[in-house]
């Protein structure tokens, strides 16, 4: 091994000794306590609380209420970060085309038939997880990740031909994704528009009625509780996550013929 590797190993082992001494032996961190901090307790207490109508959000799942109602801005910007990374990936591979008609291989027939049976079930399971985000563990991004497993199965077992023949090109998926982010922004601004028409005050990302403003999104859907705007947010997050991850999978699995045009153009420039 070289000198640099030995120095790195020694300094990292000193780091391990020092940090474990501070945390595990001298107990400067709060680990394994019987009580949690006050902020967490107040989120648990006020998340579904019909006796305190101005502080609650009527959703049984506390983590989903934190993500979409109490800290809605963080999740909106996280969605924008995913959009930025996909735009960067597409602009890195600038100049590719998607060709159908190349010879396709794929695995044997038994695997193909059994995959065709399983794929609609996966789509249904992902949609259920996303739409019941306020009642059970789940939510928008979870459903989107499950549905994008379908794309990865089709790329691995059939080949990229079937994905492109089924009409899913990167241009359509990017369009779908931008529309999804736009719809999330529209729902976040809707209480403001309604309040401006009625003449009262309202907040951005507002879910239920607060002290200063009586504008509120609907509370129940048919007979189970729906936490206002959280249902709509989960639905659009499903569309957004599915199209984003599928775009990345398709771009990183392009074949030699389609990529050859980029590289010949680049070598001309150098």
């Amino acid at each position: 091994m070289r000198m640099k590797d030995i120095i790195i190993a020694i300094s990292l082992s000193l780091f391990v000794l020092a940090t474990s001494f501070i945390i595990a032996i001298e107990e400067h961190a709060a680990i394994g306590t019987t009580d949690i901090r006050g902020l967490g307790k107040s989120y648990l207490y006020y998340s579904y609380n019909p006796w305190y109508e101005y502080l609650t959000s009527f959703s049984l799942n506390v983590v989903t209420a934190i993500i979409w109602d109490y800290r809605g801005f963080d999740t909106f910007y996280e969605t924008c970060v995913l959009l930025a990374s996909i735009v960067a990936l597409i602009s890195l591979f600038r100049g590719y085309v998607e060709k159908t008609g190349l010879p396709l291989k794929g695995l044997s027939d038994i695997v193909k038939t059994s995959t065709k049976l399983v794929m609609p079930l996966i789509v249904i399971y992902g949609a259920i997880t996303a739409l019941h985000g306020q009642l059970t563990p789940g939510g928008g991004f979870q459903g989107g990740a499950i549905v994008s497993v379908v794309t990865s199965l089709v790329i691995a077992i059939f080949s990229l031909e079937y994905v492109l023949k089924a009409g899913l090109s990167t241009r359509k998926l990017t369009l779908l994704r931008t529309l999804g982010v736009l719809c999330i922004a529209i729902i976040a601004v809707t209480p403001l528009i309604i309040a401006a028409l009625m003449g009262v005050k309202a907040y951005v990302f507002q879910n239920m009625a607060k002290e200063n403003s009586p504008v509120s999104m609907p509370r129940t859907l048919l007979d189970s509780s729906m936490a206002g705007s959280i249902l709509f947010f989960n639905l659009f997050e499903l569309i957004v996550a599915f199209s984003g991850l599928s775009t990345a999978l398709i771009v990183l699995s392009l074949r030699e013929d389609e990529l050859r045009e980029i590289f010949t153009v680049r070598e001309h420039h150098e």
Partner: protein, 139 residues
């Protein structure tokens, strides 16, 4: 007696997390292939996310701690207070969810960059790229 065992288990798992982080850092800094660096980065982010949730756990003597989800709508306010006494901290879980999504976004971009590096230098070894840049800058 069971108190001592529980404390010992907690401290050993914390030391295990920190050793994990150190091994992943060593792998990033001193493996010459780009794909191995990416795999060690994946281990690193996994360990840190798990550590953040581990800090929000709660030890109760009488019963098991419950996940931060209500199973049915509470009828009286005492049900809600009993739930607050038992449930695990929900705030680190929400923050870790955002961290996983952002880690996924970074991973996708890094893989695109590795593909471009391979097509230019015909190898995934970083020393080849360093030698060529030093030669170019000294001309």
């Amino acid at each position: 007696m069971s108190d001592v065992i529980v404390q010992l288990a907690l401290r050993t798992s914390i030391v295990a997390f920190i050793v994990n982080i150190a091994i992943a850092l060593y792998g990033i800094l001193s493996r010459p292939s780009l794909i191995k660096k990416y795999m060690c980065l994946l281990i690193f982010t996994d360990s840190i996310n798990l550590f953040a949730i581990f800090l929000g756990f709660r030890l109760i003597r009488s019963s098991y701690p419950s996940p931060p989800i209500l199973s049915r709508e509470p009828e009286t306010i005492e049900d809600l207070e009993r739930f607050v006494e038992i449930a695990v901290d929900p705030l680190p879980q929400a923050l870790t969810l955002t961290a996983i999504v952002i880690g996924l976004a970074t991973s996708m971009f890094i893989l695109g960059l590795i593909l471009m590096y391979y097509e230019h230098y015909k190898t995934t070894d970083i020393h080849v790229g360093e030698v060529e840049e030093v030669e170019e800058s000294s001309e």
